[in-house]
């Protein structure tokens, strides 16, 4: 106490003398400094900014509650994060080749991007798939496509993350069926399906059926995954898309954890014990340009989730308290102008993710404001991670920013503001209801318009866009998708439908409909459908028929 009083005296003396003189000579660059998400940033941080901060309660030690410093005792000294580049384009053959290429260059996990028709549960020959097949990811219509996608990949040694939500049940079923056909057992295959429909309704907006039946289908998957797939993470609770849709860092943190609360409750409501499934929930965050704000966000996320799981849900297994997460650098921060600059942005963001303690990382490629990345651009992005891991030295000590007055103060601020949002969502009766009311959607639309206005006024700077503009833009090579992909994929799905045992396929689809109508677990039936040659679109049509299609009220 005596010490703190002395420090305060010293600070007042410094402000009256050294600082005052300095400001007279050179005023500061701005009246007020704020983070990218508009949190106030002080000139200097000290012990006074850590009110209520307790070394044991707020920070703890790595690998121990509340995990502020990381979920593992040795973090990257033991094992580096998984370098997992999201990839998928064109046909299953094209994407399979890209996966082999990435593994040969030192990537350590797979991450599949699907095209828009697949994300929305349409077959490639559906009229709504026109022009979209294989464009923004790989087209998967049937278990045959999945087998081509996974050809010769060591599914017992690499884990596969699939960015799929509304039809996550169908793709998980196809993955299981394809893996079994390739000779792997259910106990051998590991990976993640995103399966986070709440953030779809909030931000990413690829949906099939309305929120409540969507939650029911997720419950079915949770039960199936918990019983049948010991190495599968059924849900990856995702803030990435929330942030990319224009949310602030605090909103990303708060809405993601509130989504997490809804899924944990859904699992418990489905009859599972919290410690049976919570250790396999994982998270997925964005990492934007504001370095310290992002580091603080990740540290606050771990602490807040640990408290929610232990105190609110009474989980007993320490692994249930863990917030394990994947990070992707912020696609939204990349600029079409002077695209080589994006390499630098990605490096800064990736460094923040590592200092925030991520378990796996995707670094964006510099050309992604134009198209899906070329091989050359992807390699630079992967090399960025390898340079951070092997050359920068930041991976050699645990939580190197822990104890910084600024970082600890920012971590607490993020946590407090996120808690206030979560309280508000609890007051609305939880995230499902909040989504139906459009609450998070409106908050994000407000934040994104506000940020755009700040850019227009140059309150915030984007190099090459609103400052330091070049009259002539650099041209870079971009990836082109062969239009033949769509034609070939349409032929393939039609051929599969024509050649299969039609009676068996119809029976499986009818059985799924019956189970959905009766409120039974649909996941086992979906697996039967894919094995019987049922296609993505046919299976999702069953859900459309039973639950209806979701239509979003258009809010601007």
């Amino acid at each position: 106490m005596e010490k703190l009083w002395q420090l305060r005296q010293e600070r007042q003396r410094w402000e009256a003398t050294t600082l005052k003189d300095a400001l007279k000579r050179q005023p500061e660059r701005a009246q007020q400094f704020t983070s990218l998400s508009d949190l106030p940033i002080n000139r200097i941080y000290g012990p006074d900014d850590l009110k209520g901060f307790d070394l044991e309660r707020s920070l703890g030690l790595p690998g121990e509650y509340p995990f502020t410093r990381g979920i593992h005792p040795t973090m990257y000294r033991g094992r580096l994060w998984t370098m997992r580049q999201f990839a998928g384009f064109g046909s299953a053959e094209d994407s399979n080749r890209r996966f082999h290429y990435l593994l040969e260059h030192g990537q350590t996990g797979l991450s599949v991007a699907f095209d828009m028709p697949t994300l929305m549960g349409y077959d490639s020959d559906h009229p709504r798939a026109l022009g979209e097949v294989g464009r923004e990811g790989v087209a998967i219509d049937s278990v045959q496509d999945m087998e081509i996608l996974l050809r010769d990949l060591p599914l017992d040694r690499v884990t596969t993350s699939m960015t799929i939500n509304a039809p996550a049940n169908v793709l998980l079923a196809m993955y299981v069926a394809a893996a079994e056909n390739m000779g792997f057992t259910r106990a051998q295959i590991g990976g993640t399906t995103q399966t986070d429909m709440l953030k779809e309704f909030i931000a990413q907006k690829e949906w099939i059926v309305p929120p409540r039946p969507s939650m029911k289908l997720i419950q079915d998957m949770l039960v199936f995954g918990t019983r049948e797939l010991p190495r599968w993470n059924v849900i990856s609770i995702s803030g990435y898309h929330i942030r990319e849709a224009g949310a602030t860092a605090v909103q990303e943190l708060a809405f993601t954890l509130a989504d997490g609360v809804a899924y944990v409750q859904a699992g418990i409501d489905a009859g599972l014990d919290v410690d049976e499934f919570a250790p396999r929930l994982s998270f997925f965050f964005d990492c934007h340009n504001d370095f310290f704000e992002e580091v603080a966000k990740f540290r606050a996320a771990r602490r807040l989730w640990a408290r929610i799981m232990r105190d609110r849900f009474k989980a007993k297994n320490p692994h249930s308290w863990w917030l394990r997460f994947h990070t992707q650098t912020a696609g939204v921060s990349l600029t079409a102008q002077q695209p080589l600059n994006n390499i630098v942005r990605v490096a800064i963001q990736a460094l923040a993710a590592v200092l925030g303690g991520t378990q796996s990382l995707h670094t964006n490629s510099m050309d992604e404001t134009y198209a899906l990345p070329t091989e050359d651009a992807v390699i630079v992005a992967l090399r960025t991670q390898q340079i951070i891991a092997h050359e920068s030295g930041v991976a050699d000590t645990v939580d190197p920013l822990g104890g910084s007055y600024f970082v600890e103060s920012m971590t607490t601020t993020m946590e407090e503001r996120a808690e206030a949002y979560i309280q508000k969502i609890d007051d609305l009766d939880g995230m499902v209801r909040a989504v139906e009311l459009g609450y998070p959607q409106r908050e994000i639309a407000e934040a994104s318009y506000h940020y755009q206005q700040q850019l227009e006024r140059k309150d915030k700077t984007i190099v090459g866009v609103n400052e330091f503009v070049l009259p002539e833009e650099q041209r870079i090579p971009i990836l082109r998708i062969d239009p033949e992909v769509e034609r070939r994929q349409i032929e393939r799905v039609r051929r599969i439908r024509a050649k299969r045992d039609e009676v068996r396929a119809r029976r499986a689809l009818d059985d799924l409909k019956r189970a959905a109508d009766a409120g039974e677990n649909t996941m086992y039936k979906v697996l039967e459908c894919v094995k019987a040659g049922g296609t993505m679109g046919e299976i999702c049509d069953v859900f459309r028929a039973v639950y209806g299609e979701y239509r979003e009220p258009a809010i601007i």
């Binding site: 828009m116 026109l130 690829e206 224009g246 639309a445 850019l455 227009e456 866009v465 601007i556």
Partner: protein
Amino acid sequence: MATSKIRIIVAKPGLDGHDRGAKVVARALRDAGFEVIYTGLHQTPEMIASAAIQEDADAIGLSILSGAHMTLFPRIMELLREKGGDDIVVFGGGIIPEDDVSVLKATGVSEIFTPGASLETIVRWVKEHVKPRGVKA
């Protein structure tokens, strides 16, 4: 003010759900005094062309980030011509590579705004190029 009568449809063709840009532009146009109708997501070319005719729109702003612009934009232009809406000014934006811009313009799209375009640029362009239908621009 003449601009207050101008009616603009902001539409999201295709299946991608990236609506941040569409919403921000819709709001900026509304704040600039235009009447703006936002269609919502996942619209087919038929839905967009019909909405523009029914709403008697003076302009359509298309936003697409799925890569399907080379199929969907020309289809919308074709439908507008069929339905007698060929004097509706169509502009667009999204993840659209430079080489595609001239091809789209040849199909009748008046302007393409690529990532980083400021709201001011878009609003100014609309003020200069969109007049109430029937009035020569």
